[in-house]
Amino acid sequence: MRRDVLRGRFTLVRRAVAFVLPSAALVALVLLAVAGSAGSASAQDPTGSPDPSATAGPAAPPVPPAPTPIVHPSDGSSNTCYDCHLAVNDRQKAISETWKNSIHGAGGIGCADCHGGDPTSDQVTVSMSEEAGYIGTPGRERTVGVCGSCHSDPERMRRYNLPTDQYAKYWRSVHGERLATSRDDRVAICIDCHGSHDVKKVADSTSPVYPVNVPRLCASCHADADRMKPYGIPTDQFDVYQGSVHGVALLTNLDVRAPSCASCHGSHDARPPRDTEVVDVCGKCHTATQALYEESRHAELGPASPKCWTCHGTHDVTQPGVRLFFHEADAPYQCTTCHSASDPSVLRIELDRFENEADRRCDTCHHARSTIYSQVEGIAGALSGAQSAYDTAAARITEAARLGMIVTDADVALSEAKTSLIQAQAAVHTTKLTVISGLATEAESKAVGASDMAGAKIDESVFRRGAMVVVVVLILVNVAALYLVKRRLDRQLHG
């Protein structure tokens, strides 16, 4: 309750600021404050859902620090650092060999390109001297500048066909922003994700930034309660994601098309998607569903509209189904979930009500006494009927196949029914009963057709088995008759 009041106050403040204060500088300051409040709201949100009220546009990006290139003498080929460090000790040898096998080692990006110094001299007093530009291990902030000095340079990156916007993006990420504004060097920098001496291509399946490895990479920090404590953000995202439909596809089925953390949050520009962005973020993959949603009455509601995560969650997205329509028991609805407490005619959405998966149901808003409830019932009934017909057809086809019957035709018909069923299910995003009912009826009709084909196969199998019994009996009668003749002949032979 107190949270609602606080959130209401924040909303009021934001509206006042947005409409009353014209100064761009002040807007930037207020947006910064909103970003801070979004962080604290997330801390109370076990699913990690961003604050739906944070509908303001992206904050004006801080001007990124200039990259800090390393200038050092070079003859284009010498790397005496490698030659000497191989012999220093085991640790240095391992580092040298790791670099040699890295993408940088293979591409001729030498030690001095990051550490400075003179790689043409084999005298340590020269090669590792300040005069030669040797900087040792660069600090964390400088490391970003060192990486960015090459990776933001289009001339250098052209031959590798690599993008050059990572550096600028990084400073717009939550990580980069904190590093720049709070000098918080505990945030992730380039080497925390890509490695330092052992940088590999993203497409290398052993690279930590290979899509399948990304969730564990992010979790290496974000699942660490001690590390996340100062930021007050939850640490269960990886565990939750792992069991989600996305996590299973990526981590269990190794389907690299499935989204990892970076797919929704961004990688170099990592930050939680905003309420206004989420439909586009999900729509990157679910293009057709996004188009259907944008036709819907929901999409017309503006800030009060339910978004993808209202019904599907965030890290815990599960396989959708007819269960998403209604609570199993009576829904304990609250008016303030969807209506403003002060003015019921003003619609709002209280996202906290949808944190619990069991409450991500249509009747959380469209309760039994609402005018739209019967429409929800109609949609649920149409889809349940189509699903039931599909399940029946699938079971009969399985039975016919078990009997050894060829069910190719029925399988094709069932696939067509499946396509229509998926279209009907996706059409739920339009919220239009007539559209959904039409597609559901089509799916049901195709499923019944497939079921009939399978039924005919089962009947055919029963007939064959019946005929088989008759034929076997006739054969046995013949065998018995022949056996009698044989006995008579044998007796004659011996007699």
């Binding site: 050894g404 065998v479 003749v485 032979l493």
Partner: protein, 369 residues
């Protein structure tokens, strides 16, 4: 005279003056076989199954279209739409499996009873050839439905053939009609399956039966007397129609032995009908050269070789069956002792038992792995 015969003998009386097959049929049927002979009717059953294959195969050929574009659909049409097409195809499918089973059983019976020894060495060699032909029937027929299993089993099978030293690569090219399993492979497999193999097999079966007829069935307990033997140990197993049936250890081939065969054939027909009805021949997805199935296995009769190849060096896995078949073919010329009793042929019987056990073991292993 002819008119009287026609009047007295009905249809036989009418046909005989026109065909004059009486003496031939008499010579073919009126022979005697040792009562001690235990053939278990394996050879006769294999012959019956061959006849089933010829009849059902001919019916299938009426609808089958041997091109990659049409083969799969034509088999589906036969199985789903042609009246009793499912029965014909399923009987052909099960008949093929049972034929291999009974040809092998026949070979084992002959081996363990030492029926391959003098004077039946040539009969044995032809018999081994008939086993090879039966396996070739299975291999070439397997591709014809042109589904995923058929296609990929043939890819693997022809690759194995390609591993045979010296002749492997040309053999694989010859079988496939190119580098890959394509339309050319289907055409030649079809041609071999329905033309070349049946003609060769019919010829060899004819010679095999002729030799069986000429030499008679071997006595399982007594060696065949050789020319110049001082004391013939057994009477001749053959007799002309005029030979009186006084020897109690012999019985007429017609009708006594042939009646037993007929009963065995009826039983086999019943088994075929049950198998075809309970487990009809299936069809997987249409062959797709770009989609390799997860588990490719050959048919059960090649599983032992397939499993062997997984556990021994490839060259050993290829050469071992080749040498084995070669050894099997010339075995009567290596084992020349007249002894027929199993208990006195410990090396041959023991060795064959071990090979048989290894073959069964590898087949089961290949099936479950």
């Amino acid at each position: 005279m002819t008119g009287e015969a026609e009047r007295d003998g009905g249809m036989t009386g009418w046909l005989e003056p026109r065909l004059r097959l009486g003496p031939v049929l008499g010579a073919a049927l009126h022979v005697r076989v040792p009562m001690a002979a235990r053939t278990y009717y394996f050879g006769g059953i294999a012959l019956f199954l061959f006849a089933i294959q010829v009849v059902t195969g001919t019916l299938l050929a009426l609808y089958y279209k041997p091109t990659p574009d049409a083969a799969f659909e034509s088999v589906k049409f036969i199985t789903s739409d042609v009246s009793f097409g499912w029965l014909i195809r399923s009987m052909h499918h099960w008949g093929a499996n049972l034929m291999i089973l009974f040809v092998v059983a026949h070979l084992l019976r002959v081996f363990f009873q030492a029926a391959y020894k003098f004077p039946r060495e040539i009969t044995w060699v032809i018999g081994v050839g008939l086993l090879g032909l039966t396996l070739a029937f299975g291999f070439t027929g397997y591709l014809l439905p042109w589904d995923q299993r058929a296609y990929w089993a043939t890819v693997v099978g022809t690759e194995i053939a390609g591993s045979v030293p010296l002749v492997g690569e040309p053999l694989m090219l010859l079988l496939r009609g190119g580098m890959d399993v394509t339309e050319a492979t289907l055409s030649r497999f079809f041609g071999i399956h329905v033309l070349a193999l049946p003609l060769i097999m019919a010829g060899l079966v004819g010679v095999h039966l002729l030799l069986v007829h000429q030499l008679g069935l071997a006595h399982p307990k007594r060696p065949e007397p050789r020319q110049g033997d001082p004391t013939p140990s057994t009477p001749s197993t053959r007799s002309t129609p005029s030979t009186p049936a006084t020897d109690e250890r012999l019985r007429p081939f017609w009708p006594h032995y042939l009646l037993d065969e007929l009963i065995a054939w009826y039983v086999l027909l019943g088994i075929l009908v049950v198998l075809a009805s309970m487990f009809p021949a299936g069809l997987e997805e249409e062959a797709n050269a770009l989609e390799t199935p997860a588990h490719i296995k050959p048919e059960w009769y090649f599983l032992a070789v397939y499993e062997l190849l997984k556990h021994v060096p490839r060259i050993v896995g290829i050469l071992l069956p080749v040498v084995g078949i070669g050894l099997l073919t010339v075995w009567p010329f290596l084992d020349r002792s007249p002894e027929v009793l199993a208990r006195r042929r410990k090396v041959a019987v023991g060795g064959a038992t071990l090979v048989l056990a290894a073959g069964i073991g590898l087949t089961i292993w290949g099936y479950v792995s």
